[in-house]
């Protein structure tokens, strides 16, 4: 039998057989959801891993000591001996909440958190780092895109604006609770905004600057009182050293809650992931059941058809070739549908959910090559299994029994 004739019959049998439509649609939807689930999982893990590597605060811990056991000086000396610690700063140097008082696109409120750091912390994408300046210089490094809030009806929305055109310029800041004094900072560098988690504006300056600001604007918050112990801000050299350092803290009678000061909030991501995994499992199981039931029902029609083929001189090999061609078109159409459905799901999810979810800010859903290969393999395997089941039936079936069925 010529290949072209087989293809003609195969194509015709493919689109005339309604069972093929059901199979391809179900398999496409099931595999698309599975691929989406895998893509989301991979993208999320990547997102968290990249964030951990780049954001300094994920290796910053509040470390407490018992003042009855050691003085602050003794605690500092002991911690300075750790080879996994990069810097130790007093609590007053950690953070202060400021407002940006620069007119940018007629905005009203740009809140930012100013973190004090002893030296280079984030990877700068434009400009310079604070290492190049004295500890008393009022310089700061901010994200490339900064969020500002505005009212939209009853809701507060956040929008981004780019700061790169303000590089090298003075920016006026005010303390969050003070309308009078202006603090001028020079914007010396910006970093990749997607490296922060959420939509908060994290800027960095020298530790001493933050200490001075805190003692000026809110000294009562750091007043030494009985019963209140202020932690030391300890930054580790790398997130790889966390567990080792926490064990040593415990041994040396330092106390920490075990979590970095700003940790990655994986709650929402995990919830979404669990939900998607559950949905994909359910869809997968239901699809397989439906496909099997449809295939069993369809098999009776197929058996009779191929019995007729046998009576007019087709041998088993001819029939198997025809079935393979029909399966091939099933696979082809399924793959095209998978491509369309998966792209659509990812587009909708990214645009209408991820882009609006603060805790997933900067997450980009990407289908990896592995996911694509997995999806294609799964699709081919299912269709080959169905073809093998059919082939087995063709081999075993008795012509007259099938014609009478």
């Amino acid at each position: 039998m010529k290949l072209i004739d087989m293809i003609k019959i195969g194509i015709k049998e493919f689109y005339k057989n309604k069972a093929n439509y059901f199979n391809t649609i179900f398999i496409s939807i099931a595999i698309s959801i599975v691929i989406f689930c895998l893509a989301f999982s991979n993208s999320l893990n990547n997102y968290w891993n990249q964030s951990v590597k780049k954001m300094v605060d994920y290796r910053t811990f509040f470390v407490y000591y018992d003042p009855n056991e050691k003085t602050e000086k003794e605690a500092l000396t002991e911690l300075q001996s750790y080879n996994t610690i990069e810097s130790i700063s007093p609590y007053t140097s950690y953070i202060i909440n400021m407002r940006m008082f620069e007119e940018l696109n007629n905005t009203t409120e740009i809140n930012l958190f100013l973190f004090g750091v002893p030296k280079n912390t984030v990877t700068i994408s434009n400009g310079n780092n604070i290492d190049n300046y004295n500890s008393s210089d009022k310089v700061m490094v901010c994200p490339e895109n900064i969020f500002y809030e505005y009212k939209k009806g009853n809701k507060t929305e956040k929008k981004e604006i780019n700061l790169n055109n303000l590089l090298g310029k003075q920016i006026s800041l005010k303390f969050i609770d003070d309308d009078n004094k202006i603090e001028n900072f020079k914007l010396i560098g910006t970093y990749d905004s997607s490296m922060r988690q959420g939509k908060e504006n994290f800027c960095y300056t020298n530790s001493d600057i933050v200490t001075n600001l805190n003692l000026y604007y809110q000294p009562e918050a750091f007043k030494e009182e009985e019963g209140i112990i202020y932690p030391l801000i300890v930054r580790l050299k790398s997130t790889d050293n966390i567990q080792e350092t926490l064990k040593k803290f415990e041994k040396d009678h330092f106390y920490t809650n075990g979590d970095p000061v700003v940790k990655i909030d994986t709650t929402i991501g995990n919830k979404i992931l669990n939900l998607i995994t559950l949905i994909s499992l359910l869809v997968g199981i239901i699809s397989i059941i439906v496909i099997i039931l449809i295939s069993i029902k369809n098999q009776y029609n197929q058996n009779k058809k191929y019995a007729i083929f046998k009576t007019i001189g087709y041998n088993r090999v001819d029939i198997i070739k025809l079935q393979c061609i029909e399966s091939f078109f099933c696979i082809l159409v399924t793959l095209v549908l998978i491509l369309i459905i998966t792209t659509f799901i990812i587009f909708v999810f990214q645009r209408y959910y991820v882009n609006h979810e603060e805790m997933l800010y900067g997450l980009k859903l990407i289908i990896s090559k592995f996911n694509i290969v997995l999806g294609i393999s799964f699709c081919i395997i299912i269709n080959i299994l169905l073809a093998l089941i059919r082939n087995n039936k063709v081999k075993k079936n008795n012509i007259m029994e099938e014609l009478k069925s």
Partner: protein
């Protein structure tokens, strides 16, 4: 052309063994139209299915053109069905998803000796000779019983077989169509084909050269009519 020697066919129904055919020995020659008659359950269809290589006898020898069919491989049996044998069913057994032309040309896809043009020409000639050329794009569910049977005959004749087996071809047809069909078979037998027809209707006696009567799986009489 076809020779049956001591053919037996038994079916198992639970623990009981039923003899569908008992000790059938007969020869069929080319250029003749044979009618097989008998009551329901007499073994007519079983005999036809054995000759058509659709089922195997329990014992006995079937020879086609001098070759024992029991020694043939599955591939060779398929080739025999393709080149020598044609089977026409009572229930037509057309492919419902293919139109008349596609149904008729189906056996020709396995024929490598003809070009595409020759195949189409042969199909058109067959449809013309059977008077259904104007229904070539119709699907089986759009045809009458008589038309469907003629399509089945056209499909059977596509590869120019030497042996034509028809199992109750007129059972679903009115008298006029039955006569048309039997006339076609008679013409074929005149073209040196061996035509074997199962028929309940006595009308077969007007066309057949020999009538074989079966009763309880055994041959009762062979009537040489013409």
């Amino acid at each position: 052309m076809i020779e049956l020697i001591n053919i037996q066919k038994k079916y198992l129904l639970g623990n009981k063994s039923i003899n569908a055919l008992n000790d059938i020995s007969i020869k069929f020659e080319e250029g003749k139209l044979y009618g097989i008659m008998g009551e329901s359950g007499s073994g007519k269809s079983t005999l036809m299915q054995i000759i058509g290589l659709l089922i195997k006898p329990t014992s006995g020898i079937l020879k086609i053109d001098g070759h024992k069919t029991s020694k043939l491989s599955e591939k060779n049996i398929a080739n025999l069905r393709k080149e020598k044998l044609a089977y026409i069913f009572q229930s037509f057994n057309l492919i419902p998803t293919m139109n008349v032309t596609e149904n008729v040309i189906l056996p020709l896809y396995t024929n490598r000796n003809l070009t595409k043009k020759e195949k189409i020409e042969r199909v058109n000639n067959l449809l013309n000779s059977l008077g259904i050329e104007n229904r070539n794009k119709h699907y089986p569910n759009q045809l009458s019983g008589g038309e469907q049977q003629r399509v089945a005959i056209a499909r059977a004749l596509c590869n120019n077989p030497d042996i034509i087996l028809a199992d109750e071809p007129t059972a679903s047809l009115d008298k006029e169509n039955s006569i048309k069909i039997l006339s076609i078979f008679k013409k074929l037998s005149n073209q040196k084909k061996c035509v074997i027809v199962i028929c309940h209707d006595d009308i077969i006696k007007d066309y057949a050269d020999e009538i074989i009567y079966l009763k309880n799986g055994r041959m009762e009489i062979i009537d040489e009519i013409n």
